[in-house]
Amino acid sequence: MSEKKTSGTSKKTLAALVIIVIIVIAGVGGYYYMYLPSTRPLVPNPDTLVHTTFGDVDKMDPAVAYDTASGQIIELTMETLVYYKLPGASTEIAPKLAKSWDVSPDGKVYTFHLDETAKFNDGSPVTAEDVKYSIDRAVLIGDPDGPAPILLIHILGAADYLYCEDCWQNTNQAAVDAYLNAGGVKVIDPLTVQITLDAAYAPFLSTMAYSVASVVNKDLVEANGGLTPGFYNEWMNQHATEVGTGPFKLVEWTPKQRVVVERNENYWGTPAKLARVIVNEVDEVGTRELALFAGDADVITLPATNLFDVIDKDKWLSNKEVVPIKPGLSVSMDPTYTVSPNFGLNTKWKDPVTGAMPLDNKDFRYGMSYAFDYKTFIDTVVNGAAIQGVGPIPPGMFGYNEELVKSLQFSYSPDKAKEYFLKAKAAGAYSDGQTITLYYNTGNEARRRGCLLLKDSVAALGVGLTLEVQELDWPTFLAKTRARELPIFFIGWAPDFADPDDYVPVFANGEIGTFARRQGFNNPEINAKVDEAAIESDPAKRKALYDEVTTWLFQEAYTIWVGVPLNIHVARDWVKGWFYNPMFAGPDIVPAAYGMYKEERTDQVAITIEPLALVIAATVVPTLPNYARKGA
């Protein structure tokens, strides 16, 4: 017995000694490793661009795709008749699949001459049949949430079909025949397509640059489900981008994980320099940043609220200097054509308890517009990565009138806000104790903070009005929107085509505008002006009309114009040839189709983050003794 005990004791001592040695080595080694810089000899995977972002592709079919995740894949793999003059930020229209085009004197008939060298990545040539088929199917599928109702609406016969109430999830043969018989899209000969419009729509060519007008291979689609008007083609939703005319083609789409496109070796134009582009889906911002710093990702999506993880805060806020705070990064901030976020006020909202309709009162709306602290939102919430909202037309676009907007813009003024609110209260628009709920979209940090900011500002005024903040709840949203019950909600618009007609109807036309309808106003005069401006060919007259509408929108204050964001591009500096274009759905990766590449290096320096030894130690160290001592 005693012998056993002694050997047991010495065994224990030995074990303890070993453990102590291990811990010491780990500690010392860890200390050194954490503070030593290190080098990576080569750029990882020099022929592949890795983009890490959040959000998965919804549908690959260009006829119905309307989200950025699918948009960027379509932009890499498929092409339209015309596109923008690239590389660069220009929105000038240039030839693509159509090498030239003629416009009739009345501005309604466009004749496109296809490039005879254009072909799909399976070798088959691009014919006028394919073009007609592509456009027709986009209209005939007619997804009310898709791009067709916005972009193809002026093609002859399309408006009737797209506005028909009984044409979605239902094949309305009469409507289909009516559209086809209207002859909006005609094949003249195998290399000539003619599109007739219902009016002299000036921005028509811009609309043809959007992904919805991408040309698909008719034979391929017919062999895989064909066209059923009013319904999706499931095969196309999954596989459309595998056969396109673009410099890349889809090779893999694993939902919620990654999309892989490879270079099209059969490309009819200038081949891409990169062999492959991989888009990874990672929802956690922190993980994306780690991947970028470690070199696993070449470019990532970074929200404005994390801007100062990569650039110097003071230099940016004081004089807009972009200075990366980690070596090896390349950061670029560019103005966009996105009008977002903004608060949409529903004038028809009625308080369920009191019956009051405060948002119908213009003074109340003025109060709201003066109560929002624009400067804090721009500087603190979105870290300076935006400019204050300027109405429906973004800066840089035709129709944007800087002086006009500067004179109309609201600024943060608690005194004025209080004045207008009290005026509204005196007029009976609301009474003390009124509560209104602000709704924001889940996951959008900037919007969440914007809501809280407005809530705090209004609370500080002390005018008997309280704002609550609520994440957007789909079943409630659905039911309430049907009944126009949402009081205040976020609205934002990204460009489909580079023309004010993409924006102004949405915000101002009470008859058909997506947001205008939800905000419950409808001014026939303004609607007429918006329609008129769409088909006005004289630029001066157009401008004047848009000025009128913009003035009206500001004066009615149906919308609190919060911001126009900057595009944040964060990449490793070995990525060369990147450029920004505001019309790209995926500004981070689409330049791969226009010569972006990765430069090989031999002296890459890694990026380090100050280690949080304390936090890690607090979690790991107390558990170490348990793993160390075991057995009898």
């Binding site: 056993k4 490793y33 954490m34 030593l36 290190s38 990576r40 995977n45 592949t48 890795v50 998965d56 919804d58 549908k59 997804d143 009310p144 949430d145 109430e165 979605w168 999830q169 239902n170 999706y232 939703n237 893999e252 694993t254 939902p255 919620k256 994980q257 990654r258 892989v260 990874n280 990672v282 929802d283 956690e284 922190g286 993980t287 780690l290 470690a294 070199g295 696993d296 889940t442 996951g443 789909w474 079943p475 949203f477 659905l478 039911a479 049907r482 997506t514 890694a606 949080l612 936090v615 890690i616 979690t619 790991v620 107390p622 558990t623 003794p625 348990n626 075991k630 057995g631 009898a632």
Partner: protein, 381 residues
């Protein structure tokens, strides 16, 4: 022989020298016993009313409390006309009385129509489940292995050294596990084992996902079960096998930490109970070393309640997977359900609920059967 006289409390004859073959024969005899079959059948039949109840629960939540139309709308924005909504209402009998609706709901479920998953590119919910479930199953199984492999020894130590510092330390450790937010741990693990190791050129663990994108592209996997490790082994694709395994380490550990705590507590309390039994005192008095006493006698009996708890813990692992998968971008049903919840995709949420309930019940059933198979008292009782 003396030991056998007291073996009515233990199940296998632990210090008899029966060969593995003899023991297997013994087990086979157990399995084929009529009483066991009856037990199994009875348990399976009892599951049916519970399943019906579960479907009633999901029906109530989606059709009675929530807006029933929301479950069938496959679009995000509201550009639907009254006509289109009416068509949906008619197609799914949403205007009919509740019991009629329930009937159609059940027949839809049985036919395989579980609705459309708005958050998964409008794929049918059943398809989304088929796609994402194997990943979660793999992750949960690995976590279970971690939790058992680490939790049981720790529980034994804690019991053997009751009330001494080791006991207190392990109890705190395990309770910290139960009380800690799992994603916190997940993020720290990612930082330490992925980032810090990687930038210093050390072999590192991946930051997430199921396989490395380049390994996947270069070694295409022929998917059989959906479990990449298993499929890799079956098809001889060892690159994928190892890669998938490596990708399971961090999320598996993060997920298991919480359940290690559960097993530690279970093992501790059941060991304590078993160690007080007479046959243990007898074994000790026979002069057997402490180690033999613990491992050959006490442990087996103490495992029974632990195995039971494993079934319950499995459900908890499924729940914990929800948060862990988000941090590690692991494409399982947990992550899918979070995106469904965030966008209030009722059809997906209810589909998720149903499948989790079914899996959880099956897990408990298996545990009960194991329990019955192991312990003759239950089987014959």
């Amino acid at each position: 022989m003396r030991a056998k006289a007291h073996s009515s409390s233990s199940f296998f004859c632990s210090d008899c020298s029966a060969t593995l073959l003899a023991q297997s024969v013994f087990l086979l005899r157990l399995v084929s016993s009529v009483k066991l079959r009856h037990y199994v059948i009875r348990r399976l039949l009892l599951m049916i009313p519970v399943l019906i109840g579960v479907s009633m629960m999901t029906f109530t939540l989606s059709h009675v409390i929530g807006d029933p139309v929301a479950a069938y709308i496959s679009s995000q924005d509201v550009k639907l006309s009254e006509q289109q909504i009416q068509r949906i209402v008619e197609a799914h009998h949403l205007d009919d009385p509740l019991y009629v609706q329930y009937f159609y709901y059940i027949s839809d479920l049985l036919r395989g129509d579980w609705g459309i998953s708005r958050t998964d590119s409008d794929r049918p919910v059943i398809e989304s489940i088929q796609r994402y479930f194997p990943a979660t199953a793999e992750l949960t199984m690995v976590s279970m292995v971690f939790a058992l492999a680490l939790g049981i020894p720790i529980g034994i130590i804690s019991a053997v050294r009751k009330d001494r510092p080791e006991d207190h330390a392990t109890r705190v450790f395990s309770l910290v596990g139960v009380s800690m937010p799992v994603f916190w741990l997940a993020l720290l693990l990612q930082y330490a084992f992925y980032y810090q190791l990687k930038i210093h050129n050390l072999p590192n663990l991946p930051s997430g996902g199921r396989v490395d994108q380049f390994v996947w592209i270069d070694n295409p996997l022929h998917v059989v079960t959906g479990l990449y490790t298993v499929d890799g082994l079956i098809t001889g694709n060892f690159a994928i096998f190892f890669d998938a395994l490596v990708h399971l380490i961090l999320p598996g550990f993060a997920l298991s930490y919480v359940f290690m705590a559960v097993f530690v507590r279970m093992m501790r309390s059941s060991m304590l109970e078993v160690m007080r039994q007479d046959y243990i005192t007898l074994a000790r008095s026979k002069g057997l070393s402490e180690r033999v006493v613990i491992y050959r006698h006490a442990l087996r009996n103490a495992m029974i309640p632990t195995v039971t708890v494993a079934g319950l813990a499995f459900g908890g692992l499924l729940a914990g997977a929800v948060l862990t998968e988000t941090v590690f971008s692991f494409p399982g049903i947990g992550r899918w359900s979070v995106s469904a919840i965030v966008r209030d995709d009722i059809a997906s949420i209810m589909g998720f609920m149903l499948i989790i309930a079914v899996v959880y019940m099956l897990a408990n059933l298996i545990v009960d059967l194991l329990y019955a198979w192991i312990d003759p008292r239950i089987r014959l009782g």
